[in-house]
Symmetry: C2
Amino acid sequence: MNKRNILLKIQYDGTNYCGWQRQPEEVTVQGEIERALSILCAQEITINGCSRTDTGVHAFSQMASFIGEFAIPTENIKYALNNLVNDDIYISDVIEVDEEFHARFNCIGKKYRYEIINSVNRDPFYINRAYFVRKPLNFENMRKAAGSIVGKKDFASFQAAGSNPRETTVRTIYNLDLIEEDYPDGRKLVIEVAGDGFLYNMVRIIVGTLVDVGLGRIESSEVKDIIASCDRTKAGHTAPPQGLYLKEVYYE
Amino acid sequence: MNKRNILLKIQYDGTNYCGWQRQPEEVTVQGEIERALSILCAQEITINGCSRTDTGVHAFSQMASFIGEFAIPTENIKYALNNLVNDDIYISDVIEVDEEFHARFNCIGKKYRYEIINSVNRDPFYINRAYFVRKPLNFENMRKAAGSIVGKKDFASFQAAGSNPRETTVRTIYNLDLIEEDYPDGRKLVIEVAGDGFLYNMVRIIVGTLVDVGLGRIESSEVKDIIASCDRTKAGHTAPPQGLYLKEVYYE
């Protein structure tokens, strides 16, 4: 038994969870992993996740760290832990890290993926995994608008109303790519956005605004002014959570 | 209001259903669609599905027919029906057919798809949609074995034990293809099998037998003799339902 600082890399289908963050009466991803770790360590464990994903949001690569005492070597924790958590959560890596390391505080950026199905038909295999937009989207106009979002800016317009007004709303978006993927029954658009940090609901408001551009409700040239206004009411709608995936977390 | 013979093309994620066939106390795909149709037609409707898929089995293209009286034109039934059924079921086509047509009796063949993930890692996004095989599969040996299964044969070895012994167990397999698809974290094998008909659990026993070949438990050269034996106990295991998809139904 010795104290170790452990970093977990976690994948999950968020459909059956009330998001990442532990809540007393709800099933959450953090709560489920802590339950399993507390069994393994025979003591209560609290983990620090990098991103507080919302209800229904998925992750290919969530990162969380914690200090725990284990009777087993680090290389065996992965197998033990995956046997204890639900099948829709998978710990893909367990790494022993320096005692100073913290999954959230040391994070220098993140990448999210968002999937949109643009089709008049519903697809039963995507209902909890994509945003269905029935009317045709103009992808070219959406790409033009995306260009205005990249860079270091005050993104107050893209922050959920009611967020803490005292914190800075300046963030840097490194990349915002719109990729059309093969889809048999209509079109599929994947939006990937990387940045040094994201305000609450920021990715979903960026996507919702781009969808509004694609539908012709907002002109692609307006997006620059929407950002400059620092006014949430000028931006587009908040895209639904089920299309959103935490794809990568960056450390130095 | 006039009587029409209607053919439905149906997609579903079978995860949340006790299979296709209506059962008094269970949620089934047939039961859910009949519930919706009975509302639309204001009378009890019974539909005839082409394939009685098991619990957890999916469909890209199930076919079902029924005679009903509608107050709305056939082209509007699709929209009305899709608003009434659960989101994990989608009626992709509603076609008015000749009064003699029956989705099951007129069917001259079917194609199934089966998905296998060959990886030491679990994938939360495939847990209800594929068969996870952790040990490495020899795809080449599986392909060799598949060659022995194609053709018109007595497939009694590939029928679930306890099936009706009086019915013929001769079937014709037209194609049995093993296709490797891109998969980021290991290998993915898709097995597609088309035939004039399938015995109970036949596709899952074919897949289980091929997996046993891939694992070296059965030699690829033995499969011919396993079929000739007409003995279920000689064949491989029954692959789990969640990897199975009804892909196509053939009519003349």
